[in-house]
Subunit: 393 residues, 2 copies
């Protein structure tokens, strides 16, 4: 898929193990309307602090990303290194330094290997480094097992445009971001202020409703750049074009979010947790998140054990209003619990059958009011422990 006026390039800077792409560049021909969402962690990596400052303007033209080193907890040197990285890009690209954003992911607390980055930046501007979305997605992977790419196309005022994005998970995935990087580009012309609103909403409805392990990283960054080169009249809030654009953007983000869960560290199951009938949407989200984050629930999913009791217990401590004797619970369409008690019969067996699938849903109806929420989560396996016990070694 072509997204007019954007080029992607990626090289091996040897920050990660040899043979893996680890430095990438997204470059727009023209300055692009830009919106971004960053980690809510109070400990923020240098690239996050720098990009936060720069993206306030709503305009950027390039994003440079490295994997293998998070440049987090690196003090003043970390900020100098982030600044230098963007300066190197700006010089080569012949654009203003403050139009270059930067993101990093990898190990915390080690200085960014600037010698390697200095040596690798020129390569990003050689034609041999040009790549597609897939190559871009590969270059930002850490423990991800597959590249995460999504795209879709739309039409505004007779002009067709494309939206495309990449993302990386796969640990530290939690509402309010994850070490999750995600970069979206579109050639649609979009009003910058409107782009900010719609992007934050779309992130809330995608990356913020997934959970792998409940940790929130120091480096989470999601950015969208819209360079307007599709030639459409600028999309503005409250128009039919805006509604369509929102839908496309959401779909693209939700696809990336679901890929992140599917590739959760060690994950063997993809589970949709739906809470219905809560007092409020916020209560529904609290309950769904408590279930999605419960270790006991996640290990039961791994064990393919239809242990609905642990799910009810998690709903109970979620902080959501509940009345125990009104709750019902289903695995896919197999009703397990009605009015707070097990339905008996062959439900156990049929429920276990659902849990043997690699994808299923859990629906918890609180039967109090109309608050609904959906969250995506994975199971917790031996491999999660192995991956994270050995991450740095």
């Amino acid at each position: 898929m072509e997204i007019k006026g954007f080029t992607f390039s990626a090289v091996e800077a040897s920050i990660k193990k040899p043979g893996r792409l680890d430095l990438a560049l997204i470059l727009s021909e023209l300055p692009a309307a830009t919106a971004a969402v960053y980690t809510t962690n109070r400990v923020k990596a240098a690239p996050v602090l720098l990009s936060m400052e720069r993206s306030v303007t709503g305009i950027s033209q390039a994003m440079v990303v490295n994997s293998g080193n998070a440049n987090a907890c690196t003090g003043k040197q970390g900020m100098f290194d982030a600044l230098e990285t963007t300066r190197l890009i700006a010089e080569r690209a012949g654009i203003a330094e403050d139009l270059v954003l930067v993101a990093s992911t990898g190990v915390i607390g080690k200085p960014l290997p600037m010698e390697k980055i200095r040596g690798a930046v020129p390569g990003l501007f050689e034609s041999s480094a040009l790549t597609d979305l897939d190559g871009l997605a590969r270059s930002i992977m850490t423990t991800d097992t597959f590249p995460k790419v999504a795209s879709c196309s739309g039409e505004a005022g007779g002009f067709s445009y494309a939206i495309a994005g990449v993302a990386k998970g796969a640990g530290m995935i939690m509402p309010n971001m994850a070490t999750m990087l995600s970069f979206l580009v579109t050639d649609a012309a979009v009003d910058p202020e409107y782009l900010g609103t719609v992007f934050r909403d779309a992130v809330d409805a995608s990356f913020n409703i997934i959970s792998v392990d409940g940790d929130t990283s120091t480096n989470d960054t999601a950015v969208v750049m819209a360079n307007g080169m599709a030639g459409n009249p600028t999309i503005k809030e409250g128009t039919p074009e805006a509604l369509r654009f929102e839908k496309h953007l959401r779909e693209t983000l939700l696809s990336l979010a679901r890929q992140i869960v599917r590739d959760g560290e060690g994950a063997t199951k993809f589970v949709e947790i739906r809470v219905t009938g809560a007092h409020s949407v916020s209560d529904a989200k609290k309950a769904a998140m408590a279930v999605a984050n419960s270790l006991l629930v996640k290990t039961a999913f791994f064990g393919q054990d239809a242990n609905w009791g642990r799910i009810i217990a998690a709903v109970g401590y979620s902080g959501a209003e509940i009345e125990q004797e009104r709750i019902s619970l289903s695995f896919d369409d197999v009703l397990m619990v009605s009015q707070g008690v097990f339905v008996g019969g062959d439900a156990e067996e049929m429920g276990s059958e659902v849990l043997r699938k690699s994808e299923f849903s859990v629906t918890i109806d609180l039967a109090l009011a109309k608050g609904n929420a959906t969250v995506y989560t994975s199971d917790l396996s031996h491999d999660y422990v192995s991956i994270n016990a050995d991450y740095r070694t």
Copy 2:
């Protein structure tokens, strides 16, 4: 250790697998001042609801406990079964029904096997069932690998008294209780109202500062019974005797709490998380708990990886006020981070050496004010996943 006027008995009711004690009774010769703390989960098991109601009076005489079945999410039948269990005990013991408390632990959502309980209750009153604290502790174990017992003795007004207790962990261990049952008995005479205050405080300073997996169960119950048979003048608030009694009670509870962490499901490490210099005690506790509950931190402990970055990240999302560039962090007395950055040198190596120990501390100094808190936690191992994936099978 003798605690005057208390007898313990335990039998096999075959609720658990054959060969394991699963029904126990604590019986006092006289009605005893009683204080209790129960789960904060909004989904409460029938025995919790019944005991909550009964312990409001501040007086009880017996506690009947079964393991193997939690009698939770069992609807009205669950309450009938809890009531019947206490009635059977009351009849045999010749005491009022409302002086009998009840606790259950085990699988959620299965009806209590009343036939087995009816058949087993008479055995609790035979001399062959009489047991000691160790036997009592064994009879309430589920996935615990060792019985948890603590005791200590004191003196009030020239009379010596004893305090003793048992507890069970080992999953669902989290502040605000755990499927954690703990039963304390003392022959000291204690003012019932004062006992309530001091017990709640002691629980806050013990069971509520430990975390194994962050889940809160439907059945958590901690009870203390003081029957006054030591003959001492009643211990009342604000006296030197009260201070000593408080200290003894806290020590007993803290010993049980530490044993629970040490026996956390699959735990290979016992870790003390200390946060100092926070804006408030509440901030310190938030930060310590975020570290204690982080899967990434716990798996790093299991991997013996001195991954201080994950700890700083957890402090960052804990909600506690922080200034990144003021934080320091040590493993035991090895300083790893100063002013927010890694100290370098051989700290990595020395830190890793600390993490190879089975017990160590992590101290995080926020250097903002004087709020301190300590929390005990364990690592997260492959065995945790195995135990919880296969719990019911």
